[in-house]
């Protein structure tokens, strides 16, 4: 199956690991992610707070580009996912908004009819590829890896999407299929502070601390997330959090595609794992232990 792929700005700079691993995982499951030609920034949540028509127009330029190919649009970044989805919904719901947006897009020689479906990779993996197919593809079962699944605010909210809005379980199902165990993690949807890390650091540090604490207390080996901004906040500020609150830190924060990719037998290089600040020792152990058996199984087949 083929999809339009929208990486978004942050996957091109600070989160290349997410970009790489996402492409690699889809590739190894037989799906093609075709990058949208000449996409632009979705406007991020910030744009919505300034000028609505501009926000919608900027976001829908991407939708218009995607519409040409009649494929679903997949975007891994939570922020891009929400914004593109929101813009899409506004345009689909109101003819007036659609006309307004189209009169802007016409300036750039584009037009958008509102037919694109904006989807998250998790949604595609579970609903299009299917969990049973993924289960069959697992080469290195992640036995003994204890995962705290962190969804962040934006992929299952605000509107009802592919999962429950208070207690999503897509990632749990996915990693259970990959052989890992999921720890009790009630903070799976709690806000990490988002952009406040720049504008109101104090509050963001407190929120991030609570999430890290919850995962560590419940014995997780790593936190697995879907959002670049959450990954950054939780990973890069652990020193600050330790200095301020004297709590235990040092838990690795991985993207869900990196962990899934590891189970699918992809290499660290393909998954961009080395660009993370903390290494997940447990994952390395599992990989080292299992890669030998995996090889022998393969040669037998």
């Amino acid at each position: 199956m083929n999809y339009n792929y929208y990486p978004g700005c942050s996957l091109q700079s600070a989160h290349k690991g997410y970009d790489k691993s996402c492409r690699a995982v889809f590739n190894s499951l037989g799906c093609d992610l075709i990058e949208i030609e000449d996409w632009n920034c979705c406007g991020a949540t910030i744009y919505m707070s300034i000028n609505e028509v501009t926000a919608l127009a900027v976001a829908s330029r991407n939708l218009a580009l995607a519409e040409k190919t009649k494929r679903d649009l997949v975007t891994p970044c939570s922020s891009c996912f929400t914004i593109l989805n929101k813009a899409n919904r506004f345009i689909q719901n109101s003819i007036e908004v659609r006309d307004k947006v189209n009169s802007c897009l016409a300036e750039g020689g584009l037009n958008y009819n509102g037919t694109v479906r904006v989807r998250h990779p998790l949604d595609v993996l579970i609903n299009d590829v299917g969990i049973e197919i993924i289960r069959l593809q697992i080469k290195i079962p992640l036995e003994e890896l204890k995962i705290a699944n962190y969804y962040g605010c934006q992929i299952v909210r605000p509107e009802k999407g592919f999962d429950d809005r208070e207690d999503p379980t897509t990632m749990e199902n996915l990693f259970e299929a990959a052989g890992a165990s999921n720890v009790y993690f009630p903070y799976k949807l709690r806000c990490c502070g988002g952009m406040l890390m720049t504008t109101f650091e104090e509050a963001a540090l407190k929120l991030s601390k609570e999430i890290l604490e919850c995962a560590i207390e419940n014995g997780a080996d790593c936190i697995v997330t879907t959002c670049p901004l959450c990954q950054m906040n939780l990973e890069a500020y652990q020193n600050e959090i330790h200095n301020k609150y004297k709590t235990k830190v040092g838990i690795p924060i991985l993207f869900f595609t990196q962990v899934l990719g590891a189970a699918l037998g992809l290499s660290n290089e393909e998954l961009g794992i080395d660009s993370n600040f903390y290494r997940c020792k447990k994952l390395v152990e599992i990989k080292n232990k299992k890669s030998y058996t995996a090889q022998t199984v393969h040669s037998v087949i």
Partner: protein, 218 residues
Amino acid sequence: MKIQEINIPGKLTRKESVLRHSFLEQVDTIPGGEKIKSCIQCGTCSGSCPLSYAMDVMPRELIALFRAGDIESILRSRTIWICASCYTCQTRCPSSIKVTDIIYALKRIAMERRIYAKKFPVHSLSDSFIKSIYRFGRLNEPRLMILYFMRTGILKAFSFIPLGLKMMRKGRLELRVSKVKGIDGLRKIMKKAEKLDIPFEKEKLPFMPEAVGYKSVS
């Protein structure tokens, strides 16, 4: 927080009436925005908000202030800039009020009219952001940070240096911006869009004492 003085109960000052008009117009564009009228003041939003501890006006109070006809107090509060748009309140509201989207609308009005909370730099970040998009069509985070610190005080930038170095070592600091090829088209789209959001002052509003409080809820 000091509540702005409203002279006559049930009547609005001119400024407030303009704000109200502009706000209601913004709320109109939110799908389901009109539900704001059915707030039952239950406080689920404030109770669910992970940041309400730092706010001066809680999300519930924000709706109450709107009803009471005091939008200016909301705009001058820190609340709208503290909100991290996590959508928890919006998801849980029993009356399906689009609390987060309403806060977005308030941010837009605050930006447009330049009514801000004191010493809260969110709008500087937004301004830098827009410049970046207009120039390249894409965003480069390190550059955005530099722009932002240039506006809010270069001192704070130093505290980010160790993090920057760490990112660089991991190959995660990209200073090169990949410019959108169709940037001219994008700029035209943005220029046109800006014209479509007419700032409200330009239209002549007659002074109208309006019903507020429970009358406005109808």
